[in-house]
């Protein structure tokens, strides 16, 4: 199975923010699009409030890891490790979508899209919905350069088994709030 689409996205943050959740959701969206997918995740000790980074590779790949300088995009749930840290994964011109509530120094060559997803989540009434708001924002801002669209993510949310996903019954509305903020 050869697929024309080849996309590598890094998702970063700290333990407890839902980096794994976003990664998994995007991987499920890729499955819905019938695209081959690989992710690599952080488990164990680093999940306890430490820096967490996931790799998502959509298309024909054999390795689960993204090499420095190769990523098409970076989704940063915390701004603190973008410059000099996870930003080094980006290829020249690669996009960044970052959650931040105050100016933060970053020296990235590619386009950077900033959004106060924590603030929006607070307004939305659920501080834990930050990750979905950021994702909604990114899907809209990056648009056609993203391998999937909001419909795929919504479908992935719907397909989630009750239990883990069910604690977020308002997930689609959080996604929509992020999309709205990107317009």
């Amino acid at each position: 199975m050869t697929s024309a689409i080849q996309q590598q996205i890094v998702i970063s943050g700290v333990g407890g923010q839902g980096v794994l959740f976003v990664t998994r959701l995007l991987a499920e969206a890729a499955m819905i699009r019938n695209l081959p997918v690989f992710t690599s995740e952080t488990h164990g000790m680093a999940q306890r409030g430490g820096t967490v980074v996931s790799h998502l590779k959509v298309g024909d790949f054999s390795s689960p890891l993204i090499r420095r300088g190769k990523a098409d995009g970076l989704l940063a749930l915390k701004p603190e490790n973008v410059a000099g840290g996870h930003g080094t994964y980006l290829k020249p011109g690669g996009w960044t979508v970052v959650n931040l509530d105050r100016p933060y120094p970053h020296v990235l060559a590619g386009p950077v899209h900033e959004v106060d997803a924590d603030g929006l989540a607070e307004t939305h009434g659920d501080s834990r919905a930050m990750n979905l708001i950021l994702l909604g924002f990114a899907l809209t801002r990056i648009g056609d350069d993203f391998f999937c669209g909001p419909d795929d993510v919504r479908a992935a949310l719907e397909k989630r088994p009750a239990g883990k996903g069910a604690m977020r019954s308002d997930a689609p509305s959080a996604l929509a709030a992020g999309m709205e903020a990107a317009r």
Binding site: T39, M45, G49
Partner: protein
């Protein structure tokens, strides 16, 4: 095996599921008729057994799935299942295999009847382990075959041949995934799950299953014969990944390096020039293939993790480049960036340098509101100049609080406390000794050490951090939980009764959230150990882990704390208590509270020396 993966891929109608490497292993076991799976949790292996348990529930399978008290016990249970003719499996992390090494070495001699798979997950890096040891070397020492998957899909695919090999040669077979396989997720083709129960029959054969040294000698000979044949076993032979590639140099890869390398070679334009072999079975090596490879090429680079297991078995090493020759790093994970450099140098084509991160990440810390934080704070108050031995679990992070001085291996907090006591007991001023150990670790390896400490009358305080779960690895049940791997009800052990049963005289339980009372209790415990002939004191710090959904939020009343203007920015709560919800705003000389992170434990109210953190109701 690589070929069949491709063929399966081409069949578009095959059902695929997004599976974590560990879940793919679980699926492979179940698809191949595994009837008993036993494990002790440990990163990166933990999700293997929980995935088997989930499959058992979803598919309504008749099989035994359990968390055992430790890896040795897990191994022995699953092994006896295999002696009864069933296909069984045991799963653990690499250091868990150290604990299970005793039965492993013997089981290799005795062999098996039903298929027996030992999964030992390695952690190059290390990301969440004490060592970077290579389980393949343990397989070599035990003299059992080991398979080294490159991806979740391949891990699933390997379980079939592993069981067949195990039954054909009557030998335990190891599968050794690494973190990057265990914690990768991939779209994996699913197979059918068989429903047959399998025949259970233990055939008595004392000269094998209870062999005395004389018979062990014979069994050892048999084992060597088996290995010779396995070194020629077709289904696990090395595969040439780039058929048609031509050159005088070749590369051998195993494990996840076999996943990284094709992408790297393609990008560097080396795919057609460097024949690339994946070694699927690093021990025993397929001699004939290896001899052929050695004959055919002038130089051979071996890229494997974490030790040079393949490399050291290559008979004629003058053509071989790897860890032993210094061409490949001996320490740390082989990240694809590094592999690119290594293979580039080997091919005489150094790659462009890659930007590496300059900023260190945030260090891990106990969760906001974690009961362990309160326990550690109290320990430092009760025994300020003490020696603090600790152990493996979330609470290792007590390091950040200066309340952990030693971490060796599972259960060592107690025995090391004893060692420090014996070393210092003749001193005029003997330091107080406080050991911390989680409930799961106490059951795993702490109990024998406690018995020893009671018998030797060791003066030390053992604080058992009882959060009713194995937290670090994803909240697996402990023997005190009262339920098992699939949520089935089980007998519930009481830690206090157990400690008293070990002969401990001073044993009390309290909730560390009641900080002031808890400090007072610890002071009494310390006084007990100081008294002549006092001996050990055990304090059970009982409060559920906040991440354990099964124990629910019912665990505590949420205190809505606030930082008042009395805060003068001294930073005591940040440096001595380190709750992630509290941070010092140096410009403002004030501590900020992050409500999104705060879990409302209310402990910080008792921590602030200025009384500036209050319960705002």
């Amino acid at each position: 095996m690589g070929k069949t993966a491709l063929e399966k891929d081409l069949k578009r109608d095959i059902e695929k599921e997004l599976l974590l490497g560990n879940a793919a292993l679980a699926r492979g076991l179940v698809e191949n008729g595994c009837r008993m799976a036993v494990a002790y949790p440990g990163t990166p292996s933990s999700e293997i057994l929980s995935s088997v348990a989930a499959l058992k529930t979803a598919e309504d399978l008749e099989m035994h799935v359990q968390w055992a008290v430790n890896e040795k016990v897990a191994f022995e249970i699953a092994y006896a299942g295999a002696l009864s003719g069933l296909r069984t499996a045991v799963a653990m992390k690499q250091v868990g295999l150290n604990v299970a090494s005793d039965p492993l070495m013997s089981a290799a001699y005795m062999g098996t009847k039903g298929g027996f798979i030992v999964i030992s997950a390695d952690d190059p890096g290390p990301h969440s382990s004490q060592t970077e040891q290579d389980s393949r070397l343990m397989a070599m020492m035990a003299k059992i075959p080991v398979l080294d998957p490159a991806s979740p899909a391949q891990a699933l695919e390997m379980t079939g041949p592993a069981y067949e090999m195990s039954e054909t040669f009557r030998i335990p077979v190891m599968i050794r995934p690494t973190t990057r396989v265990c914690h990768a997720r991939q779209d994996v083709p699913l197979g059918l799950i068989p429903r047959e129960r399998g025949t259970v029959a233990f055939d008595k054969e004392p000269s094998r299953w209870a062999a005395t040294p004389k018979f062990r000698f014979r069994l050892h000979g048999e084992l060597e014969e088996k290995l010779k044949v396995i070194a020629d076993y077709g289904p696990t032979a090395p595969v040439l990944l780039n058929d048609g590639a031509n050159g005088s140099k070749a590369v051998l890869v195993s494990g996840v390096a076999a996943a990284h390398m094709p992408e790297i070679l393609r990008e560097m334009g080396l795919w057609d020039r460097l024949p690339l072999y994946q070694v699927i079975q690093p021990f025993p090596l397929h001699d004939a293939v290896m001899t052929d490879v050695l004959d055919r090429y002038e130089e051979i680079l071996v890229v494997e993790e974490t030790m040079g297991v393949i490399e050291m078995q290559m008979a004629d090493r003058c053509k071989v480049r790897g860890k032993l020759t210094g061409h490949v790093d001996r320490v740390g994970e082989l990240l694809p960036e590094r592999i690119g450099e290594i293979v580039g140098e080997f091919a005489g084509q150094p790659p462009a340098s890659v930007p590496m991160p300059s900023a260190p990440g945030r260090r891990p810390t106990l969760c906001a509101g974690c009961p362990h934080r309160a326990s550690f704070f109290a320990i430092k108050k009760a025994a300020p100049k003490g020696i603090y031995t600790s152990d493996i679990g979330c609470y290792t992070l007590g390091l950040n609080l200066g309340a952990v001085d030693t971490v060796l291996c599972m259960g060592a907090a107690i025995s090391q406390a004893a060692g420090f006591y014996h070393a210092h007991k003749a001193e005029a001023k003997r330091p107080d000794i406080v050991a911390t150990m989680g409930d799961s670790t106490f059951f795993h390896a702490g109990v024998p050490a406690l018995i020893d400490a009671v018998v030797q009358n060791v003066g030390f305080v053992l604080v058992i951090l009882d959060n009713r779960t194995t937290a670090m690895t994803g909240n697996q049940p402990t023997p005190a939980s009262g339920f098992g791997a699939v949520g089935e009800p089980l007998a519930r052990l009481d830690i206090e009764t157990l400690a008293r049963g070990c002969g401990v005289g001073f044993c009390e339980t309290a909730d560390p959230y009641g900080l002031d009372d808890f400090i007072a209790l610890l002071k009494r415990a310390v006084a007990h150990t100081r008294a002549d002939g006092g001996g050990p004191a055990v304090v059970i710090a009982r409060h559920p882990c906040l991440l354990d959904r099964r124990q629910g939020a019912a665990a505590h009343e949420v205190v809505r704390v606030a930082v008042t203007d009395d805060c003068d920015g001294c930073g005591y709560c940040v440096s001595h208590f380190e709750c992630p919800a509290l941070s010092l705003d140096e410009a403002e000389d004030h501590v900020r509270l992050d409500r999104a992170l705060c879990n409302g434990c209310g402990v910080c109210v008792s921590v602030c020396p200025k009384g500036a953190i209050v319960d705002s109701g």
